[in-house]
């Protein structure tokens, strides 16, 4: 990696870090935190889906695992939340590896892979709703205890900075991946798996590395979600909403580019926020508008309108 590779990321981090200085409105900080958490989940998807071409519809499996591990370990066993957060990331990557191993070894590609991930996420959802240690259907509440040592902050600004730092780390990791041999091989597998194998790419290993890293990032997003909203249930953790969020942002912003997920997440959530304002007497109209805008964004992609947003390959 060269300075040119890293600079834009650091710049982004620095500019974004100024936000809490200028903005104290909870609305905006809350919006920014949620968007950044989704950026992280989306960046996770982007590693596997954007760079690796393995479209997953079940990143909820990783998000939820990260979230539940973070919550369950501290609620049930009193482990420090920072530790449980790391444990969540680790567990999510293990889940990623296992799902990856099972599907890639049996040669699943394309929509088949997408569907198997979807199914895994659903299995986790049904299970987490039924077993007692996740709180079952009643969900899991992380007790309110706003101390920095407890990964809960009196002021949202700190939480924001922490999430931002993690997003910057994810961006740097993605950039490093992009510039590495693994990254090149991953992209090659995306473009043509047979051809990649012919030139010595161990496709299975490459895809497993990707899904593990991918799951770790999305798991981190899950942990942050749990720590921020302090409440989890099976639909939040393993529901399809997060699988969709995770893939929507990178595809809109540019799959397989470092900044794609960030751009996509910002666009999507700005749209969502903007339409939310339009809520009138009749519920649903705002979401209809959101849906129409989504289609329009696909039709007239912002990355085409603003070529410099595209992010260098």
């Amino acid at each position: 990696m060269t300075a040119r590779d890293v600079l834009p990321i650091l710049l982004f981090g620095a500019v974004a870090a100024l936000l809490p200085v200028f903005v104290t409105a909870g609305t905006l900080l809350n919006f920014a935190i949620f968007t950044l958490i989704l950026c992280l989940a989306a960046q996770g998807w982007n590693i596997l889906g954007g760079f690796g071409g393995q479209y997953s519809f079940g990143h909820a499996a990783f998000f939820g695992t990260g979230a539940y591990a973070t919550a369950v370990l501290q609620v049930r066993y009193g482990v420090n939340p920072y530790v449980t957060f790391l444990a969540g990331i680790a567990l999510a990557s293990v889940v990623g590896w296992v799902i990856g191993f099972l599907s890639f070894r049996s040669g699943l590609r394309g929509s088949y892979f997408a569907l198997v991930t979807l199914a895994f996420a659903e299995v986790f959802r049904v299970l987490s709703n039924a077993v007692p240690f996740t709180g079952g259907a009643a969900g899991l509440l992380i007790p309110l205890n706003q101390r920095a040592a407890n990964f809960q902050f009196e002021s949202r600004g700190w939480f924001y900075l922490l999430v931002l730092a993690l997003v910057v780390v994810a961006l740097l990791l993605t950039r490093a991946l992009e510039r590495s041999r693994l990254g090149a091989q991953l992209v090659a597998v995306r473009e043509n798996e047979d051809a990649a194998r012919a030139v010595g790419v161990d496709a299975l290993r490459v895809k497993l590395s990707a899904i593990t890293l991918s799951a770790a990032m999305t798991g981190a997003a899950g942990g942050l979600y749990a720590q921020y909203f302090l409440y989890l249930d099976s639909t939040i953790a393993y529901g399809t909403w997060i699988s969709v969020e995770a893939l929507l942002a990178p595809i809109i912003g540019g799959a397989g580019t470092v900044f794609g997920p960030v751009i996509g997440a910002v666009i999507l959530h700005t749209l969502a926020e903007a339409t939310r304002m339009m809520v009138g007497r009749i519920p649903g109209i705002d979401l209809v508008i959101y849906g129409v805008l989504l289609i329009l964004v696909v039709r007239f992609p912002p990355r085409n309108l603003l070529p410099w947003l595209r992010g260098r390959r």
Binding site: L115, L248, I285, V288, G291
Partner: protein, 292 residues
């Protein structure tokens, strides 16, 4: 595990078959669209909901029996699907698969919430006198609307099968699925074929909706309940395979019914997904092996 008397198990199997056929019909639309557009149609559930509302309106506003409503709704929904593909999905996706995904997603958001705005969130049903009728088959009581659904699903599948195998349109649909340029060069209007496929898929939903309505209900999110099952069926039956979708539907219906009987409906869902995962992992071309 609990032991049920054989007539109960038998009736559970029969119920599974009856319900499964209609699942198969929903899956049929999905498998067809998947086979040609290579993409999972996220709007499938919302379109099913739309069809159910249409059938409901036909009943509530025009007094049309849901079964009779099949006749006008099939062409209407064919046209709707055709138009949606031609005017929305096609242009907006600009030929990229991942874009089609997003567009269908956007479409589902639009449809679902438009229905919420129009029909409100209430759960609606039709009241027809045969809804409660049963057919006594030996010791079993079979719900009349389901028996009808079963029969019609088979007829639709047979018609589609013949259409795809025996007619030029069918061959064109299959040809476009894999080789667009080649198809254009033999004079197939690729955009038209896409739209026809989408239209057929949507028309299948109209039939399914009319079959479901007498014994079911409709609210703005009801379609989603069927989509996940439909995915399972599509995989089980082999993506793009018409007989596979129907057979897959029957299998899933029975599996769901039996696992529901023995494990409870909640965990019974787990049964379906586990089967789903196993099939994907060990026989990804589907149980009824459509050609890869």
């Amino acid at each position: 595990m609990r032991n049920f008397p054989p007539e109960i198990v038998m009736e559970a199997v029969a119920n599974g078959l009856l319900t499964g056929a209609v699942y198969g019909l929903v899956a049929l639309g999905l498998t067809l669209v998947y086979g040609v557009l290579h993409i999972i149609n996220f709007a499938h559930g919302a379109l099913l909901t739309l069809a159910m509302y249409a059938a409901w309106v036909a009943w509530a506003a025009f007094g049309l029996d849901p079964y009779v409503a099949i006749l006008p709704l099939v062409p209407i929904f064919f046209a709707l699907g055709y138009g949606v593909q031609r005017l929305v999905i096609g242009p907006a996706s600009r030929g990229e698969d991942s874009n089609i995904l997003l567009v269908t997603l956007g479409l589902s958001i639009v449809l679902e919430n438009a229905m919420l705005a129009i029909f409100r969130s209430d759960t609606l049903s039709v009241q027809v006198d045969y809804a409660m009728e049963v057919i006594e088959a030996g010791p079993m009581l079979l719900s009349f609307p389901r028996v009808v659904g079963f029969g019609v699903a088979f007829v639709v599948a047979a018609v589609l099968f013949v259409l795809l195998r025996m007619t030029d349109t069918g061959r064109a649909i299959r040809a476009v699925a894999k080789e667009r340029t080649g198809a254009a060069l033999v004079g197939i209007d690729v955009g038209h074929v896409y739209a026809v496929t989408f239209g057929i898929g949507t028309a299948c939903l109209a039939v399914a909706a009319c079959l479901l309505l007498p014994s079911f209900y409709v609210n703005p999110r009801v379609g989603n309940a069927f989509v996940l099952v439909a995915f399972t069926i599509v995989v089980l039956g082999g993506m793009g395979s018409v007989p596979g979708a129907l057979l897959g539907g029957l299998v899933i219906g029975v599996v769901e019914s039996l696992s529901g009987l023995y494990l409870g409906d909640s965990l019974g869902q787990l049964g379906i997904f586990v089967i789903f995962i196993l099939v994907l992992l060990f026989k990804p071309t589907g149980l009824f092996g459509a050609r890869a």
